[in-house]
């Protein structure tokens, strides 16, 4: 990993068109400004972890279809009770 030290208002440049500027440091929090073309995805890593977790919780073929059938049965039973 490349390690760089930057002060507030200093910038690093990635490739031709991505700039990351340190806007401020407050306690343990660093505020970064990212300038990048719209087609470049800028994501917090934990967001990718969320997607991964959601995928994992949705990935059982048999489990999901069984749950869908159970859901349909329980809803049609409730309809029948009305």
């Amino acid at each position: 990993m490349l390690v760089l030290s930057r002060r507030v208002n200093e910038t690093i440049v990635l490739g031709d068109d991505i700039r990351i500027t340190v806007l401020g440091v407050d306690g343990g929090v660093v505020r970064l400004g990212v300038e990048a073309p719209p087609a470049v995805k800028v994501l917090r890593q934990e967001v990718l972890e969320q997607v991964k977790r959601q995928n994992q919780e949705s990935a059982s073929v048999a489990g999901q279809i069984r749950a869908l059938q159970a859901l349909r049965r329980s809803v049609s039973r409730q309809e029948g009770d009305k």
Binding site: P38, L48, V51, S58, V61, A62, Q64, I65, L68
Partner: protein, 155 residues
């Protein structure tokens, strides 16, 4: 093409159209090695589609066409994604993964990271849509989406 699925809780072979076999070169997040899927369309599942992994018959995802939920869903692709999927919007299907819970209220849909498929190239990617304010777990059957209840045989 014959594929193996566990949709009925055991391994069985079923036929899907060649057009419904899709390469996913990057897999899905957390399922990077699952790079080939069969799309199972079945009257029993409507309006959902089953994305069946061809790597592991026990892995797959229920999904729903995003246009059924959000007709004006605004998809943004990076240059790398466009290079793989092409830029012809009419060729792209946008599917959101559904997570079925124990009741309608905890059944959700991932509008944040849909699966985008080029039908012509038979190629799919899970594409994070960070410009939108959707979450990975939007309630499927509330508010604007409540019309889907009837579509799903749940209304």
């Amino acid at each position: 093409m014959l594929i193996t699925t566990t949709r009925n809780g055991r391994e069985e072979r079923i036929e899907v159209a060649d057009d419904d076999v899709v390469e996913m070169p990057h897999g899905l997040l957390g399922f990077e090695e699952h790079n080939r899927f069969g799309l199972i369309r079945d009257a029993d599942l409507e309006p959902f589609i089953l994305l069946q992994s061809l790597v592991d018959p026990w892995v797959g995802f229920l999904a729903v066409d995003v246009t059924l939920l959000q007709p004006d869903y605004e998809l943004v692709l990076s240059e790398a994604e466009e290079a793989l999927l092409g830029t012809h919007l009419g060729d792209l299907s946008v599917l959101a993964i559904v997570k079925v819970g124990s009741g309608p209220e905890d059944t959700s849909v991932n509008l944040f990271a849909p699966i985008v498929i080029s039908r012509r190239r038979r190629l799919g990617l899970q594409v994070v849509q960070s410009h939108l304010s959707y979450s990975v777990a939007e309630p499927l059957f509330s508010g604007e989406q409540s019309g889907l209840l009837a579509l799903s045989g749940l209304g």
